[in-house]
Subunit: 343 residues, 2 copies
């Protein structure tokens, strides 16, 4: 059993209150006494018991971060942004992975509530869990990440995904593409639906043709899902086959790219691809991916700032922040003409 503050007090010949003061307000303790206590701490290898601190304080020094897919680099970048803000504040982050499954999400939220976290950052699954409301009723701040708030009574940090979808589609339309695929349709995530809406609007405006957009809905927003969608596209008769795709995220785009190359379809000459999120692997792909860039780390750090402000209490006003995405053009959407000009 590890040494307690009482053991330290005994060893140093002082009271427990004094030890606590050395730990928390060293300036009120005289020099010699402080030394004796610090020596005792070192001698016994004393380490504070956080559970006891938190029990007394009524809340812990941790926050929860719940993401949809820990294997998606987008979320590890968000986590990094969160850490950049939370770490200097002396708090720890408990990172949870919901795998886009509501029941896992709920279980994680329950654990976080029992841990009395100071707040929760979450990219929720499609439906907002009732557990989230119950956290907020309990006074635990919740900030939505990469998702718009349903109302003005909570903070959220999102990205204008309608604009993102539009940017991606307009880029392809400008390059002469007239049959475009949107890959990722079936996802119930509002983010994805917004991207879809942006793409659809741009395509309709440019072509006046609702059939110009082909929507594909792979099972998951992963590399495997992208391969599946690409195989379907290649299987279409040439007259109906799209010449380009906007993917709901970069994992899908990488899968599409891989399958196209495998089938001998040249990218971008025969088929152009635009991804979404601009994860690092997008630039690292052998045919670097054009992608809609979201400020990944900034999403995390801004959300964390809002959470800490809300947790501090005094006069917090809820903010619904919406970042604007930008298009990063790389080879996967450049026609031959582009590349010549770039040289």
């Amino acid at each position: 059993m590890p040494a307690s503050i009482r053991d330290v007090a005994e060893h140093a010949g002082v009271s427990v209150g004094t030890v606590s003061n050395v730990l928390n307000r060293p300036e009120v303790v005289s020099g010699p006494t402080r030394e004796r206590v610090l020596d005792a701490i070192a001698a016994l290898g004393f380490v504070r018991n956080e559970s006891a601190r938190h029990l007394r304080a009524g809340h812990s020094r941790t926050i929860g971060l719940v993401v949809l897919d820990i294997a998606n680099p987008f979320f590890t970048d968000v986590a990094r942004g969160v850490d950049d803000v939370v770490d200097p504040a002396g708090l720890a982050v408990i990172l949870c992975n919901s795998d886009d499954r509501p029941e896992k999400e709920s279980a994680h939220l329950d654990v976080l509530a029992e841990q009395r976290v100071q707040g929760v950052l979450i990219t929720p699954t499609a439906e907002l869990s009732p557990h989230l409301d119950s956290l907020r009723r309990r006074g635990i701040p919740v900030v939505l990440v990469d998702r718009r708030a349903p109302g003005p009574d909570q903070c959220a940090v999102a990205v204008d995904d309608v604009l993102g979808g539009r940017l991606a589609a307009e880029h392809l339309l400008e390059r002469g593409h007239r049959r475009i695929a949107f890959i990722g349709g079936a996802s119930g995530l509002p983010q994805v639906q917004e991207r879809h809406a942006g793409v659809a609007a741009a395509v309709r405006e440019a072509t006046g043709d609702d059939d110009a957009l082909l929507v594909l809905s792979p099972e998951h927003l992963t590399v495997a899902g992208g391969r599946e969608a690409a195989a379907r596209i290649v299987g279409l008769p040439a007259a109906r086959r799209p010449t380009a795709a906007v993917c709901a995220n970069d994992l899908l785009a990488l899968g599409v790219l891989q399958e196209m190359v495998r089938q001998g379809v040249r990218v971008p000459d025969d088929f152009a691809i635009v991804g979404y999120d601009d994860i690092d692997f997008a630039a690292a792909a052998a045919v670097p991916l054009t992608s809609v860039r979201k400020p990944r780390a900034a999403l995390g750090s801004r959300a964390a700032e809002l959470l800490l402000d809300e947790a501090r209490g005094e006069g917090h006003v809820h903010v619904q922040e919406v970042f604007e995405p930008t298009l990063v053009v790389r080879e996967s959407s450049m026609v031959f003409r582009d590349r010549e000009g770039a040289r």
Copy 2:
């Protein structure tokens, strides 16, 4: 302030002990009483305070996992494996990222000690931190992940990286490559040094020539590091330029691939690449990467099993487990056209 067990007791007209029994040993409470208590819990929205539980129990229901680079998919896969074991056991994982920096690692270990975690899983930085020993002296089990134990007095789950390096090199040697690069040399990580040793031994045996292996040492084991190394290789005079590379991990390999393609070097025709770890993105690259596969999730889950066993106490025997890696051959190394004659 959230409802406590005392509030529940009052609301249900029973004692706190009974509420606790309903929570922890429902079978010793009579049906009607149990109902009344459960109703009170629901009515007040009572949630257990874990800090108080843990204070009483003397230890928390969490374990720590410290990784070198959360942005490296290898580690997110390890984390998944850990979760598979730890979650069913009713424990939570606190995931920490050391960024390969000893001071960050130490800070995280201190926090974990304060949290009284039941144990720590860690892929340590090059030098084993003294904080690790101090944890173990304090009775907190530590299991090394992807790293051999320095002695028989602790558990470790590693991979035979000498063999891995050898597999990668022999594969290239069999295909006729006679000048090979090892990328990642400067890292102090023993895992990387082992890979280097395996490659060096295989090359020496096959060529009898110590100069046949070129060692490159990019700053970090990342995609950017790989690009940097590839640029250096392309800049070499043809007579000294390697025709293939073994990379210390897949991020490096992806960077090399990207830069080679950018410079117009065909992969694998002009330059073959073998990566290490076999992360999912290796197969997803447009030129799918040959890579040395490590059982990523199994590393995590086995390490977690050992940790839980040690934490349980009774009659634990330390295990140093070493997995054997396998070579997964994909396009990036499949063809070799001997260019010696073209000199």
